[in-house]
Symmetry: C2
Subunit: 344 residues, 2 copies
Amino acid sequence: MGVTIRQIAEAAGVSRGTVDRALNNRGRIRPEVAERIQKIAEEMGYRPNQLGRALSMSKNNIKIGVIVQACETPFMNDVLEGVKKAKEEVDNLGGTVIVCKIPHISASDTIEAMEEMRKDGVSAIAMVPSDEEAVKEKIREFTGVYQIPIVTFNSDVPDTGRLCFVGQNGIQCGKAAAGLMGELVNGTGKIAIISGYRTNPSLRERVDGFTTQIREKYPDVELVGPEYCFEENEKAEKITEEILKENPDLKAIYMTSHGESGVCMALKKKGMAGKIKMIANDFMGENYRLMREGYIHFLIGQDASIQGYEPVMILFRLLFHAEEPEKELIYTEIYIRNEYTIPE
Amino acid sequence: MGVTIRQIAEAAGVSRGTVDRALNNRGRIRPEVAERIQKIAEEMGYRPNQLGRALSMSKNNIKIGVIVQACETPFMNDVLEGVKKAKEEVDNLGGTVIVCKIPHISASDTIEAMEEMRKDGVSAIAMVPSDEEAVKEKIREFTGVYQIPIVTFNSDVPDTGRLCFVGQNGIQCGKAAAGLMGELVNGTGKIAIISGYRTNPSLRERVDGFTTQIREKYPDVELVGPEYCFEENEKAEKITEEILKENPDLKAIYMTSHGESGVCMALKKKGMAGKIKMIANDFMGENYRLMREGYIHFLIGQDASIQGYEPVMILFRLLFHAEEPEKELIYTEIYIRNEYTIPE
DNA sequence: CTGAAAGCGCTTACAG
DNA sequence: CTGAAAGCGCTTACAG
C-alpha cells in the first residue's frame, strides 16, 4: 500500500480536492500552495493509485475504434486476438473498444467505417489503412479537423498526421531473409524471388531489402525475378514452373508473400521438393505444414497479436494518461522459425 | 459501461450485498434467491467490473515474493525487467511484489530467502530453484505445510508440489539448433559441442536434443564432444584449441552456454573466424557483437522478460481471481536470430 | 482560489 | 439468511 492523496492532504493541511488540483496541474490553485503540495507529495513518495483513478474516471468513458481490413486472413485473425486482449484491458479500466472488420481491402469501405465511428463518438482510431489517396485525405481530415488521433498498423500512410505506426520494417525483413538465404545456398547460385503485388509497399520493401543485401554480401549469387503471383496459388505454380524451366540449376526461392502452396506444387511435380531451398513469410498453419513436409526451410514472421494490441493501448495511454508514444515508427520484432520452433 | 451490481440489485429487489453473495458463491444466502439473482445477472449480461473489485479488495493486500538466483547475468537482468513490469501491474491492482536477488546460485541462500519471505507474510512465491535436495524439501514444506503456492521459472524442480513451471524446453532448444546446424553444414562434416556444466539439467537437455536430432536427421554428421567449459572463457578457449588441433576439418561449433568469447578468441588465433560456423545461446550484447563480427551465425534465445513477468502474474491471477494456470509446464517460445534480427 | 460532498463499482464487517 | 453502511483512492461538479 502506498501513500494516498488523503495522507498528503492531512500532511499539507488542505482538502483532497486541492491536492488533486496541485498534483494534476488542473489550475484553480494558488501557485505557492501547489508547489508546497507537490514538494510534500514528492517527499512522501506519492505514486497515484491507477485503480482509484480509473474507477473515478470511468464516468468519462474513453471510446477507441479499431478498423481492420482483410480480416479473414490467418494473420489478421491473430491481429484480432491482440485487439481482443487490449479490449479486455481497456474495458477493465472503464473504457470501450469497438471493432469494425472490413472483409476485403477497400478504400470506400474504410472511409465509411471511419465516418461511422466518428458519429459513434469515438475518441481515437487504430486502423489498417489502404494506400489510396482518398483514405489518406480522410485521415488528414480526422487528425486535423476533428482532432481524432489515429494510429496506423500493419501498413503505414506517412504524411497524414497519424500519431504513429506499428508494424514491420519491411526492409529489415528482406535483409533477414537474405542472411538466411546466404547460409542456405552457401553464398553462391541462383535464387528466385516471387512476390505478391508489385505495388504493395510492404512487399516492395521486402524485395528491396532482400535484393540489396544479397548483392552486397553475396556477389556470387544470381537473382531471378522478382516475379509477381498476386498471392494466388495457380499463378504461383505457373511462375515457378517457368522459372524452373529457364533455370534448371535454381538453388532457392524467396517468397515475400502468399502463393506458397502453388510454388510447392510445382516443385513437387518436378521432383524438386526439399532440394530447392525455400524461405517464406508469415506464421500460419499452411506454412507450418509445408515446413514439416520439407518444402519450406525458414519462415519469417511477425508477432501479429502485438500489432492488434499495441495500437489500442497506445491510444488508451494517450487518452487516459496523456502519455504520448515514444516513437513515430514502432517496428515489431522479426521472428525466424525453423522446423523445430513451430507449433505442432 | 456495463451492467452494475446495483442495477441487478434493483431488478431483483434485493440489496447489493445479497447480489454479491449470490454471484460470488459466498454462502449465507438462500439457494433459491441466489439462483434467481444469478439468472437475472446472466440475462442482463452482467460482467463484473475488475476496477471496482480490485479497489475494494486492495485492503486485503496480496503479497507475492520473487526469488532470483544468479541475478547479475544479462539474462537474469532481462528477467528482472519482466518482474518489474509484473510488479507495476500488481501494484496498480492493489497488490505487492517483493523481490529477493541472490547474487549466486546457492541452496542455503535460497532457503534463507524463502524463510524470510514467509515471515514477511507473502501469500505466494515465484522462484528460480537450484537443483538441490535441501531446496526441494523446503519447497515441499512450503506448498504442503504452509500452503504457500510456488511457481518455478527458468529451471524446474518437479515432484515438489510447485504449482507450475515457466521456462524453456531444453530438448526443443537443442533440436532447433540441430536444424539450423544441418543447414549451415549442408548435412555433413564434423561438429563440436561445447557445453557449460555436465550436471546442469537445462544444458544437458540442450545437448541431448541437439545430439539425438543430428543423429536422426543428419547421419553423415560426425559429432565431437560434448566438452565442458564451465562457462569460462579461458577454459572455452583452451578446449577449442584442442578440438581444432585434433579436428583440422571441423566445420561448426554448437555452444549450449557461455564462454563464447573464449571460443571466438581461439578461432581468431587460428585464422578461422567466420569459416567455422557457430551457433550460440542467449540474447545478450556480447553475443550480438560476436555475431556482427561474423563469429556467430545463429543465436537461439528465449524471451527472458516473460519468464519474470508470467510467474508473478500466474500467482496474482491465482490469488486475486482464483484462476488456476492452464498447464503445469509453460514453455516459453524459442527464438532464432541472425545478424539482421538483432538490436543495434 | 479552496473545501465539502458525492460518486465510480465492488466488498465486507456489523446488525438484525 | 438479508440489509444498510462504510470503505478502497481518486475525480469532479457545486458552493463559497
